[in-house]
């Protein structure tokens, strides 16, 4: 198993897509910085209270931690799932496309171990992506925007019901928690993409199918027509990761949704193993 993991890790580190994902995240942070900077300047400038007399948007509100939180929440929904899908979707289908899957399966290793090692490497990729992204945001926030407390208001980002605040050091800790909760949530996508990777022989097809399923559920879940279906979508359960940014973390709800996501992940992985063990590999 250890040798398998080492081999899979080497493959991951040699893949161009691995580095591309980090480059795109850097580009996204740059874009966010520009948007945040101009927005903050507009909202705290002289004409900010022309139309309305009162606002909570001040120089104190716009700080590096707020920037990091906005950047993370905006990217988590659409950007990170794409990279995780790409990484997991190419695991088995990529081997099939390259013609190496049959050779790998002739080695004295169980197919289940192969799936597990590929999943663990994908999980590592997801964790690295999130750690890198959060670290970069905090660094950029510190250098270009400056630090302060994390002020939260109801409405934007939908985190709180009433105004709240997390002091700086505690907020930094919460970003650390977000690496764990965010990675755990992304594992559902990784497991789904791995299943698609076993079903389809093309990595592109596996990735596209995963993203299509994710986006469909995500969008349908946001349409009021289907609000009664919303609790049954994994995309709804995945949202639990953001709870670590609430002033009082709702631990019971967080553990509930973490377990639901865990059930999706392990259920999908189990299915993947069963399907892969029965698969006739002809490539």
């Amino acid at each position: 198993m250890r040798t398998l993991l080492k081999l899979e890790l080497e493959k991951l580190l040699r893949a161009k897509g691995f580095y591309l994902s980090f480059v795109v995240l850097i580009a996204f942070v740059t874009l966010m910085l520009w948007g945040f900077y101009t927005y903050a300047a507009r909202k705290t400038g002289g004409g900010a209270v022309e139309q309305f007399k009162y606002t909570y948007e001040s120089k104190q509100y716009f700080n590096g931690l707020t920037f990091s939180l906005y950047s993370l929440l905006f990217s988590f929904t659409l950007l990170l799932p794409i990279f995780v899908s790409m990484s997991a979707g190419s695991q088995i289908a990529g081997e099939a496309r390259a013609g190496t899957l049959r050779m790998i399966c002739t080695r004295p290793i169980s197919r289940a171990s192969l799936i597990l090692s590929k999943f663990l490497v994908t999980a590592l990729h997801a964790a690295l992506l999130l750690t890198f992204f959060i670290g970069l945001n905090l660094l950029v926030g510190l250098i270009f925007v400056g630090w302060g407390n994390l002020e939260l208001y109801p409405g934007p980002l939908n985190l709180v019901d009433s105004p709240g605040k997390i002091v700086r050091d505690e907020a930094l800790m919460r970003f650390g928690y977000a690496v764990l909760s965010g990675t755990w949530a992304l594992l559902v996508i990784a497991a789904l993409a791995l299943l698609c990777s076993v079903i389809f022989d093309s990595p592109v097809q596996a990735t596209v199918m995963t993203i299509a399923a994710y986006l469909t559920l995500y969008i349908v879940g946001r349409v009021e027509f289907f609000e009664h279906l919303r609790p049954y979508f994994f995309t709804t359960d995945m949202d639990f990761w953001r709870d670590v940014f609430k002033p009082e973390i709702p631990w019971q709800s967080l553990w509930h949704y973490a377990c639901v996501c865990g059930a999706y992940t392990t259920g999908l992985l189990f299915t993947t193993v069963v399907v892969f063990e029965r698969k006739d590999i002809v490539t």
Partner: protein, 275 residues
Amino acid sequence: MWVKLVLLLLFCLMILGAVHFAQPRESDKPSSSAKVVHPLRLLTWNIGYAELEDDTRAHDKDLPAVAEVILREDPDAVALQEVTGNAQLNILLGFLHGKYRGAVAQQGKGDRFEAVLVKDAGTKFIPVAVGARYALGASFRPREDTQEVLLLSAHADAFNAARRRTYTEALIDWAQARAQSSEVFIAGDFNFELKADNETNFYTDNLKHDSESYSHILRHFRDLGRAAGNTAINDRRIDYIFGPPTLEQIGRVKVLRDAAVGRMDHWPLLVEVGL
């Protein structure tokens, strides 16, 4: 084989964990009901209809049911929204058997009015100009030994968050100026779309305006009905009763979800506080 067994075991553990940590649904949660000595009981209710109807204002045929709820819950004062005018208010007061006095706000640009009903015979009704709209205040003493209470019945724009923000700012300025001499309560339909549960809306101007409006109110007032949950269909909490931040005793806080009749899309919110 062991991989499959481990996965299956983990799957079962996760299911058990999910069941163990599951929380009761909002509708299963008990409403707040602490006992308050000498309570002031306030009720707010938008008695208009949902958007699908031809006339979305309150309907005369529903007034007996509205009166029945008021008589049953026995509030000291009631803030109503979407009343069609004085004539309709008089019909409602008739159903209340002279137990309440009432008034409607001045007519603004719209075709519907806010109204206030109060038990106290010495109540003074005060028109409140809030931009192009009007709210209505009622100043009264629930008991001889209490400070004067000022209840405002308000209704913010349903379709435009920027207008809601302007309205809220003006209303709070007006209320703040009177907070020294009276215990000020603001009740009504503010139409804020701020539900935080499991939503992932991207940052929008509308959301920002509602956020600014609500946060501005909370700088000076306390949201007394928060614990009671949704007040309108489609899981919306858009009706509020705000009170002084220094209030120490809050008693029963309840949304009367069985009270709506006809095609009403709001439920009354009842709040009991100790003065």
